[in-house]
């Protein structure tokens, strides 16, 4: 595996950061008065959402670079970014309702932020479906790149539209005491390290698969 040393480093850091963060989440950060212990999901839920946006932006950027340069490297990067981004969207959609259930009494409420993420999930799932359908097509990478760009342009518009549409309250500013703030940063760092480690691993797998497919063709 090409980036072996980087990979080991990132995964170790991610493991360390996540262990520290989990410790802080459960044993260091105080229990929030209104929502109780379930609120602690916030420390992973919000960073995951932030990581999503970063990854989807990267997917857009690499897709645009691919269209410009036609270098397979950019395609692999875009694909990996979109995929890891999708994983975190899923994480947001899972942690959100778990947190919300205690406040809402049911598993899903059509409130703006969560609904936006649902649409995001549908959009990028379609991206992967497209990859599946276009496997083996010489233009697959180019088609996926165009979709990733269009999808990203849509993100702010979807958010605006949905926020005007739904008006149920999403827990707004959670006031953070120092202990909570540190825990939040720990969560943020953990999520980002995890994302980076996943991204690198996914990227390596992508490239290895592409190389193997190449070898098979010439064999």
């Amino acid at each position: 595996m090409p980036h072996r040393r980087w990979s080991i480093l990132l995964w170790s850091l991610a493991l360390a950061a996540n262990s520290a963060a989990l410790y802080m989440v459960f044993l260091y950060a105080p229990v929030e008065v209104q929502m109780g212990a379930v609120q602690k999901i916030f420390y992973y839920h919000v960073p995951s959402a932030i990581a999503c946006y970063v990854l989807l932006f990267l997917a857009f950027l690499f897709s645009a670079l691919y269209l410009w340069r036609e270098e397979p490297l950019y395609d692999h990067l875009a694909h990996s970014a979109a995929e890891v981004g999708w994983v975190f969207i899923t994480l947001v959609l899972v942690t959100g309702p778990i947190w919300g259930h205690s406040a809402w009494g049911k598993w899903w409420v059509w409130e703006p932020r969560l609904t936006s993420f649902l649409i995001l999930w549908l959009t990028y799932s379609a991206y992967f479906l497209l990859r599946l359908f276009s496997r083996g097509d010489a233009r697959a990478a180019k088609i996926a790149a165009v979709v990733a760009i269009v999808a990203f342009f849509d993100v702010p518009i979807v958010h605006k539209a949905i926020s005007w549409w739904g008006s149920i309250v999403h827990p707004r500013k959670v006031v953070l005491e120092p202990a909570m703030r540190w825990t939040f940063f720990a969560g943020l760092a953990s999520v980002f390290l995890l994302a980076a480690a996943l991204f690198l691993t996914r990227f390596d797998i992508q490239r290895a698969e592409a190389l193997r497919a190449e070898k098979e063709e010439w064999a």
Binding site: P72, A138, A210, E214
Partner: protein, 242 residues
């Protein structure tokens, strides 16, 4: 017959899905010359053709048209002077023969599209059925209309991709005759084919592509079909064209 090349590629390399499909290909297409492009499947002929017809971008290397490197605007000019023939008809099945020709004539900005279309219909012997919808034509008729379509803008460069496929002897003879007359009118021709008998007599150069590179290139003069087949087998190790 000689002179500057109309269209040429030099040092052309292209990777698809990370794989090298063309390696350092040089090719010159001169007015009044017919170049034969041979090669086994997977040699890169399709990719090369796609690049020559501007449907694909060169990876590395230069595509030159009328002496200038291709930019977006020269690509458009190239397309205006380029004719492409393949096994597909490039015709709209629900439009009549005349409507098809008028459409393409207007698309190419041909002056006086109506009379040009009428003239070509006459030339390929389809004037009598000009108001019939192309979907009802026989294959032979569709091929003739296809030729008419390609000739509408009077292209200075023609690329023919396996044009003999599915043609009966009469059709093959007519095609060869057409290519000869185009040559005589100083058009540059590139013929990608597996059938050598019909076109070797009128060919000027032969290029054999193998594994993305030009394996052999030379004048067609003095080459017999058997000689060419032997040369083909030598360079590619394959049975070769019929």
């Amino acid at each position: 017959m000689s002179g500057d090349p109309l269209l040429s590629v030099s040092g052309l390399s292209k990777r698809l899905s990370g794989r090298a499909v063309l390696r350092e290909v040089n090719l010159n297409l001169l007015p009044g010359q017919l170049t034969l492009l041979l090669g086994p499947n997977g040699a890169g002929k399709t990719t090369l053709t796609r690049i020559l017809t501007t449907l694909s971008r060169p990876g590395r290397g230069v595509l030159t048209f009328r002496g200038s490197r291709t930019t977006e605007s020269t690509r458009v000019r190239l397309r205006a002077e380029l004719g492409y023939i393949s096994h597909q008809t490039f015709l709209y099945a629900h439009l009549t023969a005349e409507e098809n020709l008028l459409f393409f004539a207007r698309l190419y900005g041909v002056p006086d599209p109506a009379s040009r279309a009428a003239a070509l219909l006459e030339e390929v012997g389809l004037a009598g059925v000009k108001d019939r919808v192309v979907g009802t034509f026989s294959r032979g008729m569709q091929q003739r209309l296809s030729l008419a379509r390609v000739l509408l803008p009077d292209p200075s460069l023609l690329i023919l991709d396996e044009p003999y496929a599915g043609l009966d002897p009469e059709g093959s003879r007519r095609l060869t005759g057409l290519m000869a007359s185009l040559k005589a009118r100083h058009r540059a021709l590139l013929l990608v084919t597996h059938e050598m008998e019909d076109c070797l007599p009128i060919a000027d150069r032969v290029v054999i592509l193998h594994r993305g590179a030009v394996a052999w290139e030379g004048p067609a003069e003095g080459l017999t079909v058997e000689g060419l087949k032997a040369r083909y087998f030598e360079t590619t190790g394959e049975g070769g064209p019929s």
